[in-house]
């Protein structure tokens, strides 16, 4: 297992995973940053959080998504970004699971604050998010010398 964990090819395998996750999260956050009121309504509709937490989450979460996405693309603090993405995905999955258990019929608010038929939640939403979580955990655990700014900084430190 040691050889597998320390295999240098993980950096290359993780690259498309990083790019895909980055694209997902950056695409998802832009509408939420532009329309925080609409995103706040989506969060409130899940009826999980106390109302006082709805606005802070609606304001802050999209920016975390944006910065995590950019960090994955640039390869800067890559493992930290992947951990943040994993944490967010776990949160989303818990919220969706609770909504499904309650029998709520609502948009997941993932990509737009739009009506049910545009982005309905179902068990497949959980499966989809689990797939993304697997990708982000792979990057967090195995991409130990990521391509990008992190590697450039390490080399620079070693040469300097």
């Amino acid at each position: 297992m040691r050889r597998f964990v320390s295999w240098s090819g993980h950096a290359w395998l993780a690259l498309p995973a990083r790019g895909y996750l980055a694209w997902l999260f950056i695409a998802a956050c832009l509408h939420k940053i532009a329309h925080p009121a609409s995103f706040a309504l989506d969060i409130a509709t899940y009826d999980i959080l106390p109302v006082v937490l709805v606005h802070p989450l609606a304001i802050g979460l999209p920016w975390v998504e944006l910065v995590a996405g950019l960090a994955l693309v640039l390869g800067f603090r890559t493992r930290a970004a992947a951990l943040a993405v994993s944490g967010m995905l776990v949160l989303f999955m818990v919220a969706i699971a609770i909504a499904l258990a309650k029998g709520l019929d609502l948009s997941c608010g993932c990509f737009a604050s739009q009506a049910l038929e545009q982005d309905p939640i179902s068990g497949w939403t959980l499966v989809r998010d689990a797939g993304w979580l697997a990708l982000s955990l792979y990057v967090a655990l195995f991409d130990r010398n990521p391509l990008g700014l992190d590697r450039w900084l390490v080399v620079r430190r070693q040469n300097g």
């Binding site: 297992m1 040691r2 597998f4 964990v5 320390s6 532009a34 329309h35 925080p36 009121a37 706040a40 309504l41 409130a44 509709t45 009826d47 109302v51 006082v52 709805v54 606005h55 802070p56 609606a58 304001i59 802050g60 999209p62 920016w63 975390v64 944006l66 910065v67 995590a68 960090a71 603090r77 493992r79 930290a80 970004a81 992947a82 951990l83 943040a84 944490g87 709520l104 019929d105 609502l106 948009s107 009506a115 049910l116 038929e117 967090a140 655990l141 195995f142 130990r144």
Partner: protein, 179 residues
């Protein structure tokens, strides 16, 4: 410092550095939160308040009725001919207050689908009247209950369904009476 790399187990190697990554992630989240609050407060044209204690009125959208329907203007002369079977989608109270002559009341409920027996009764009544089309009018709001009911009954098999743009408000204006 820990063991040298070549002495660490695979699992130990796997989780090596995760503590630092978790620390960086936490600091990053806090930083993003502060940035978000600042942008929302000072730069965002559509910023929201950081705190609210007012509960949201949560409207969980129902599945949209999906049948094909045709819009009809309130001035359309077909509204007055015998080939149109008229349906009023508003509440019983609104219907009792005013309705087009000959219109049948079938109240549209945004939360529950129209009962099967009501749709079947409508279809039978339209067939008995030998109408060529079913014309639905509602409250004319956005969304319009008339259009919603028209789509629902169209999706459930009734053919040639129209809805009146502007609903009862437009029809009353046409008739010259107030809303």
């Amino acid at each position: 410092m820990g063991k040298p790399v070549n002495q660490r187990s695979g699992l130990g190697l796997l989780f090596e550095g995760l503590g630092t990554a978790a620390r960086d992630a936490t600091l990053g989240v806090i930083g993003c939160g502060l940035l978000a609050v600042a942008v929302n407060a000072w730069l965002h044209p559509n910023g929201i308040t950081l705190w609210t204690d007012q509960a949201y009125e949560i409207l969980v959208p129902c599945p949209e009725p999906g049948g094909e329907v045709t819009p009809m203007a309130a001035q359309d002369p077909r509204l007055d001919d015998r080939a149109s079977f008229l349906v009023d989608a508003r509440s019983q109270v609104a219907y009792s207050s005013w309705h087009l002559a000959g219109a049948t009341n079938l109240t549209f409920d945004y939360l529950d689908p129209t009962p099967d027996e009501a749709v079947q009764g409508l279809a039978r009544a339209a067939a008995r009247s030998r109408a060529e089309r079913v014309v639905v009018y509602g409250d004319g709001e956005d969304p319009d209950s008339g259009e919603q009911l028209a789509r629902e009954i169209s999706a459930r098999g009734i053919k040639n369904v129209f809805f009146v743009r502007g609903g009862a408000q437009a029809l009353q204006a046409r008739a010259g009476s107030g809303p």
